[in-house]
């Protein structure tokens, strides 16, 4: 995952990774927007709510009916009654199961639909962003928003919402049922409950910093592992593998300690929760029996049995509520980060009255263009030039001079502050981006290929191209021969980052891709830097044939690449230092001439 040329060209000119918009956290606002997504499923959500209430009531009716069966029918030796109430009990439980399954399945469907929409919105939104956005946002950070944060929201929608609803109703219903039945046994059942709050509070205050520390260390470890793996070949070359092991082991040990500490603390919760349930059984049984033996009215074996069942149920919803609360908070933090992405406006947008750029001849005019990626650090100053339609235009100059910026502005990847850029007398800001870019063919030095087949990668230039046309483009780019030696020829799926190809081979495929698009203006930005010069010459001749009568821009370090250009611009420090043909520039004996002759310095020595 190499960074773009744009990012590197203005590297070190200032801080790059500023946050888009630093804001305080506001989980409630995020919750509101999430609920907005659920709003489309209003009726289904109402149904979920109704089913949750019904199933909660049914689940509480069960233990009560058990008590009634013991006290009313078994104690009175009523065989028909026992049969009757058992059937009612069975139906109640059946109803509970069905309603539970109903809301669970329904909620799962709603949640996934919302997730679908959320991912679509995110992707669509990111598609609409200008290039500047990708320079500024490290891909790792964006990926984490699009995967981890989306995951957290998925968790919230798929599990937390129903768990929250279910347990809230369960607690309220449970206490109500118990109070209606017997207040003394209710008290007995609730005696151990404060212990839950004590442990929750204890863990709740101590765990967050421990987990934050643990997560931070895991982050460090992952970062270290990622970097060391990415640089593995360098480590082998310099025999630094052993050294990296020591560093890794130290952090690994840190992670172990921090993880043990954090999880030891949360490990207290389950035993205590479970213990509280059992404790409730003991207090209910003890208190109930004591009341019964001392002859207190209204206490029977049946009601004690009912309350034993209820005390089993007290601890679970409380602990689940507490767990859900913390995970819901972190999910909302994730939702917030997602909404931050969605709130970001693209910087380069079509004017509202933008027109389609008609098929162009390729007459490009830069009129006193000034540009800066960051305020106060100008990258281009007073750039002024004209290319007649159909000419070949060379751009040379040291790294960081602004060559790539010139073509980025031509493709309107960025908007300029001063001056104007016109193609066939249309200002690029007055036409749609799509109609402009679809007539440009751009090949960059950091070649990006997709992990698809070679077919698909070349066809990316023109989606409806036939196989024959793809092969023709590959031949033109001198790529056909090596593609045929790949394991599955054109059907070979390139691995991510295409490590199964050399840099030069990747560039050849990228050139084929651009050639297939048959652009009106072709832009080659160091497109052949890793290709040997003979192959390059062959490609150039073929491209020139293809581009006959069309405009092309060629950026290169190798001067042989631009030698035949109709005009060569020498860019230095954001300004045009020299311009002219190869011969004119040599005669002028300036920067270009110096660069040219330095190529042959070694010949005598």
């Amino acid at each position: 995952m190499t960074d773009t040329k744009h990012a590197s060209e203005r590297a070190l000119s200032g801080p790059r990774f500023g946050q888009a918009r630093p804001r305080g956290t506001d989980p409630i606002a995020s919750l509101g927007r999430l609920l907005g997504y659920l709003g489309n499923y209003r009726w289904q959500m109402t149904l979920v709510l109704v089913l949750v209430v019904v199933s909660t009531v049914l689940s509480l009716l069960g233990p009560w009916l058990q008590g009634v069966a013991i006290d009313e029918f078994i104690a009175n030796r009523d065989l028909a009654g026992v049969a009757w109430i058992s059937i009612v009990l069975g139906l109640v439980y059946l109803g509970w199961s069905l309603t539970f399954m109903g809301f669970a399945a329904l909620m799962a469907r709603i949640a996934q639909r919302v997730m679908f929409q959320l991912r679509e919105d995110l992707f669509g939104h990111i598609q609409g962003q200008s290039l500047e956005y990708f320079d500024r946002q490290p891909i790792g950070d964006l990926m984490s928003r699009l995967t981890n944060d989306v995951d957290a929201v998925d968790q919230l929608l798929s599990q937390n919402i129903t768990t929250l609803l279910r347990n809230l109703f369960a607690i309220v219903g449970l206490v109500t049922f118990m109070l209606v039945l017997d207040w003394r046994l209710t008290l007995a059942a609730l005696v151990p409950v404060p212990l839950i709050f004590v442990i929750m509070r204890y863990v709740g205050t101590r765990a967050p910093p421990l987990f934050a520390g643990y997560q931070r260390r895991v982050g460090t470890l992952n970062g270290l592992a990622e970097e060391s793996l990415a640089g593995q070949r360098v480590a082998i070359a310099f025999d630094r593998q052993a050294a990296s092991v020591d560093e890794f082991l130290a952090i690994n040990e840190d992670v172990r300690r921090a993880g043990t500490a954090a999880y030891t603390l949360t490990g207290l919760l389950m035993p205590v929760m479970f213990g509280v349930g059992n404790m409730g059984i003991a207090t209910v049984a003890g208190a109930g029996a004591w009341l019964a033996v001392t002859g207190a009215p209204g206490i029977s074996v049946g009601i004690i049995a009912t309350f034993i069942s209820y005390s089993r149920q007290v601890a679970r919803p409380l602990s689940q509520l507490a767990n859900t609360y913390t995970s819901a908070l972190s999910a909302l933090a994730g939702a917030e980060r997602i909404f931050q992405v969605l709130d970001r406006e693209p910087s380069v947008i079509d004017a509202h009255d933008a027109v389609e750029l008609p098929e162009i001849a390729g007459h490009v005019h830069f009129d006193d263009v000034d540009f800066a990626y960051l305020p106060d650090t100008p990258v281009l100053i007073d750039v002024d030039f004209t290319t007649p339609a159909g000419s070949m235009f060379g751009l040379v100059g040291p790294t960081g001079a602004g060559k790539t910026t010139i073509i980025s502005i031509l493709a309107r990847f960025y908007d300029i502050e001063q001056g104007s850029v016109t193609i066939d007398h249309h200002d690029v800001r007055t036409v749609t981006k799509a109609s402009l870019r679809s007539q440009l063919g751009v090949v960059l030095q950091d070649t990006f290929l997709f992990s698809e087949s070679v077919w698909d990668n070349i066809r990316y230039g023109r989606l409806d191209a036939s196989d024959e046309e793809v092969v023709a483009a590959a031949k033109l780019a001198n790529a056909d021969r090596f593609i045929r030696t790949l394991p599955a020829g054109y059907g070979t799926v390139l691995s991510e980052g295409a490590t199964n190809l050399s840099l030069g081979q990747r560039q050849l495929i990228a050139i084929a891709r651009a050639a297939l698009a048959e652009p009106r203006i072709l832009i080659l930005d160091e497109a052949t830097s890793s290709v040997d010069t003979r192959t390059e010459a062959a490609i150039q001749q073929a491209l020139l044939r293809l581009m006959a009568g069309r405009t092309s821009f060629v950026i290169a370090h190798r001067l042989s690449t631009v030698r035949d250009a109709d005009q060569i611009l020498v860019v230095d420090d954001g300004q045009i230092a020299e311009r002219g043909t190869h011969e004119e520039l040599l005669d002028a004996d300036g920067i270009y001439a110096r660069l040219f002759w330095s190529q042959f310095k070694g010949q005598e020595g």
């Binding site: 078994i74 996934q112 992707f123 669509g124 592992a225 025999d239 172990r256 043990t260 790294t399 330095s598």
Partner: protein
């Protein structure tokens, strides 16, 4: 359960703690099984017999046992956490150490992204099994057996109800586990696919925009997104239904127990207390079954992770150190290729019958078309790969007989892709020799023409680089990589197309400086530009894996058609390039 067999051997030194955790868990299970029996005693011997003493003593006993159970399960939990994190850390250390023994050929086969997943999420999955699984695996079967025994003790006839319930719940669990296993895997595949589309879309934003393929990308994404949503909905619905289904079946069992048990109580064959206890045991058997359903996907995921981890652990390093290495003494840097043949991963040979004699102290440039085998050739000298046939020697010694240390100390390499690390520029330059002082660092940086731009930075050599050096331009990165190789002060220096992003003038300065620095150093250059090669003592022209010409510029320009062609192509003159 096959997954467990894979994971268990990693317990290693934590066997004792694990045993203690299991013992504590067994005690807890015993107490849990006793609770319903004690409630039955309160009801039957206390209430029914009007005996306040039994009520008080039994209640106190219950409270004591519950408190003890809390203590034991906390102990089990603490031990479990220690074991789990211990195993995780040990396993990760082993894996990392092993990865450090792998060489280039191994890395060609396992992508670094994959290795990262092994080191992070795969290991975490194994840890989770230890953390949850350890106590659960001890607890569930015991709790189940304990409750069954208690039920049998209370009433054999009624316990027969389990004969009906158990197969139904097992069948449901088995079905859901099997089905969700398949679905989870599908969901994971779709998710991976979605993430790939996403990552490529972000990394290739420029390409997407340049070709105006936003709609195409959106379509691609929607297709995967839709697929993912469909499968995720199905698996979530399935799994969500499991809990109510299982508990529903067990609850129907409770209704049946009330009926059958009620009749038994009325007929005097059973006490009320025992009936209540029986219901409690029945519900208690549900817990292990539900838990099993919960832990099953975790187990199979961990099993899959364990298999993947094992695959890495069992990868044999492609380059193995010689058990009894030879030393070079005072190395001169005389490199020879003797009839060398090489092919990647057993594929067609990339190099065939290569014979080369690179005299000590000479500079040799390797030229050739893209894919002709230039990088492959130089990668054989520091033994990044082992030859398939023939041999490569340094001062007459086969490189396979030299120790890793010896090779790296005498050979400095600047790779085609200039990978830098996060950290200061200084630390990056002295990566190959961490003990180098500032003067040495600066000397190397000056020779690589990096000193000037480094000193212009606000923090100079202390400037922090981002990962991969992404805050530098390609040319700057390459110059630092060259400085890094120079600082090692090697006898043999290999520069693999190290100046492709550096302008020609700067490049010629670098060559002058290197020539000044060490006249007796052997230098092997891979080059695209003829200017890089012109200063060399000898130029090797490769074509399709074979040496087709070799000699100084003056000779080659006369004798080699191909070389003349390459030379002319650099000057932008017409060449004979019919492919």
């Amino acid at each position: 359960m096959g997954s467990l067999r894979l994971i268990f051997p990693w317990l290693g030194p934590y066997r004792r703690q694990a045993t203690l955790a299991i013992a504590a868990t067994v005690t807890v299970v015993g107490i849990n099984v006793a609770i319903p029996l004690l409630t039955a005693r309160i009801i039957d011997d206390g209430i029914a017999a009007d005996n306040l003493g039994v009520v008080t003593s039994t209640t106190l006993l219950m409270v004591t046992l519950v408190v003890a159970a809390i203590g034991f399960s906390i102990a089990a939990s603490i031990l479990g956490v220690r074991v789990a994190f211990g195993v995780e850390a040990d396993l990760r250390a082993d894996l990392y150490r092993h990865i450090q023994t792998l060489s280039f050929a191994n890395l060609d086969e396992i992508e670094t992204g994959e290795l990262l997943v092994r080191l992070t999420s795969d290991i975490t999955k194994v840890r989770q099994v230890y953390a949850f699984g350890l106590s659960f695996l001890a607890q569930a079967p015991l709790a189940f057996i304990g409750s069954m025994l208690a039920m049998l003790a209370l009433d054999v006839q009624m316990a027969a109800i389990m004969v009906v319930l158990l197969p139904i719940t097992s069948l449901i669990t088995w079905y859901v586990a099997r089905r969700s296993d398949v679905l989870y895997e599908l969901v994971q595949n779709k998710l991976d696919r979605l993430n790939t589309v996403l990552r490529e879309n972000l990394a290739g934003a420029e390409v997407v925009k340049a070709f105006v393929r936003e709609h195409h990308e959106a379509r691609r994404f929607r297709a995967v997104n839709q697929d993912l949503t469909d499968y995720a909905t199905r698996v979530n619905q399935l799994v969500a239904a499991l809990f109510p289904a299982l508990l529903g079946v067990m609850n129907l069992g409770v209704a049946a127990v009330i009926w059958i048990g009620g009749i038994a109580v009325i007929e005097g064959r059973m006490t009320e207390g025992n009936l209540v206890a029986f219901i409690n045991y029945l519900l208690a058997t549900t817990f292990p079954i539900v838990m099993f359903a919960f832990i099953q996907p975790m187990l199979s995921a961990a099993g899959a992770s364990a298999r993947r981890i094992n695959r890495v652990l069992r990868t044999t390093p492609a380059v193995v150190a010689h058990p009894d290495p030879t030393t070079l003494g005072t190395p001169r840097g005389h490199v020879r290729f003797e009839d060398v043949t090489f092919g990647y991963g057993g594929q067609e040979p990339v190099l065939e019958g290569v014979n080369l004699d690179i005299q000590a102290g000479k500079t040799v440039a390797v030229l050739g078309a893209t894919g002709s085998g230039k990088s492959t050739l130089v990668n054989l000298i520091p033994r990044f790969y082992d030859v398939t046939g023939g041999r490569v020697t340094i001062d007459g010694v086969d490189v396979r007989q030299l120790s890793k240390d010896e090779l790296r100390r005498n050979i400095g390499v600047s790779l085609q892709r200039a990978v830098l690390f996060s950290g200061t520029i200084r630390d990056n330059i002295r990566y190959g020799r961490p003990e180098a002082d500032q003067d040495e660092v600066e000397l190397a940086a000056r020779a690589a023409q990096a000193h000037e731009f480094v000193s212009e930075l606000e923090d100079g050599y202390d400037t922090m680089l981002e990962q991969g050096g992404s805050n530098l331009s390609g040319g700057q990165r390459q110059r630092l990589a060259i400085a890094r190789a120079l600082l090692v002060d090697p006898v043999i220096l290999i520069l693999d197309d190290s100046t492709s992003a550096v302008d020609v003038e700067t490049e010629s300065f670098i060559q002058d400086a290197m020539a000044r620095l060490a006249r007796d150093r052997t230098t092997v250059l891979v080059a695209q530009r003829i200017s890089t090669a012109l200063g060399a003592d000898e130029i090797v022209v490769l074509d399709e894996g074979q040496v087709v010409a070799c000699g100084p510029h003056q000779d080659l320009i006369r004798s080699s058609e191909l070389y003349r062609d390459i030379f002319r192509s650099q000057l932008g003159e017409p060449t004979d390039v019919s492919p």
